[in-house]
Symmetry: C2
């Protein structure tokens, strides 16, 4: 897949135009793009990196949360997820978030990869994990702003929920589709 | 999946703190969250809505693009995609973007759903489509800033590329996983 060399862009200038630490930083850049043109106002956005967990129980149910999400302006099903603390390892963050949000712990964790959430602006890196044989070990204590209901869904119920539009977050839909796709599951 | 009523947040105040039309608008809101707490600095972000197309040829190859993407700071495989023009229908935008970026047209278009790209901040709505029996009808003329190489990959090559980390954009990975997941494909 490498027929020709793609030319990286050159950053000629970068100026911070908005910040609300630690949540958001916006930079306006002057860039020289691949064909030599110069663009004066290409933005780069920094949100916090985050983890997402597709956790399943020994009897094959997947742990989901029904939440009001403000960016959606309504209810959606999402997977357990949260931002990574400064210096925190992504896997440790995933284990912490699963426990805090749902009260579940799991032994068998696997990475499903990490992805940049906006190919043009950057925004954040999302780390996806699966957690198998998850079991309730304590009561949830997320401290999150969102009210939520925890659900245990069979894969066919969850896939029907995606087809029906009940998973309105692209990240959550991506996590489920990537983690349960028979041709995408990683071994070992 | 409706055991209890989730309480929507209330927007008490909303102030625009940055804009770079038509690409970015940032609002800082004062919100009353579900449990009654008031948060002074919850942000809402507006990027442009966009379409993504998972297009396949009659012989089962999927049309991909290898591009340098500035938000990633390097190369990635992505699906044909682009922003929706003001007033444009998402399907029309998908057909236009596929033609402009790849020179391909297709007869058999289906929606794979629409999703909000950031559940907390909003950011944009992504409309996913599949386009079957795609065929080259003209030369690409995207006008995009990115240099690109068009690839025709068999599904097993594409899935291997995702497992290998060559699809670094969460949106592109989501599009492929959602469009090719055997339990998520919609009929009719």
């Amino acid at each position: 897949m490498k027929d020709h060399q793609l030319k990286p862009w050159q950053v000629l200038d970068s100026r911070e135009v908005y910040q609300a630490p630690p949540y958001i930083r916006i930079f306006r850049q002057k860039v020289r793009v691949s064909d030599g043109r110069v663009v004066d106002d290409y933005h780069q956005v920094q949100f916090m990196d985050f983890v997402m967990v597709v956790a399943s129980t020994a009897d094959g149910h997947i742990l989901m949360e029904r939440q009001y999400k403000h960016g959606i302006g309504g209810e959606t099903l999402v997977v357990p997820a949260g931002t990574i603390s400064p210096g925190e390892d992504p896997l440790a963050a995933a284990q912490r978030e699963l426990l805090e949000e749902t009260g579940y712990a799991a032994e068998d964790w696997r990475s499903v990869g990490s992805f940049v959430t906006h190919a043009n602006y950057g925004c954040s890196k999302a780390y996806l994990f699966t957690a198998q044989n998850a079991r309730a070990v304590t009561v949830p204590k997320s401290g999150d702003l969102e009210d939520m209901e925890i659900l245990l869904l069979r894969p066919e119920e969850l896939h029907a929920a995606i087809r029906d539009g009940q998973v309105r977050s692209l990240s959550a839909a991506a996590a489920i589709a990537l983690a349960t796709h028979p041709d995408l599951i990683r071994c070992g």
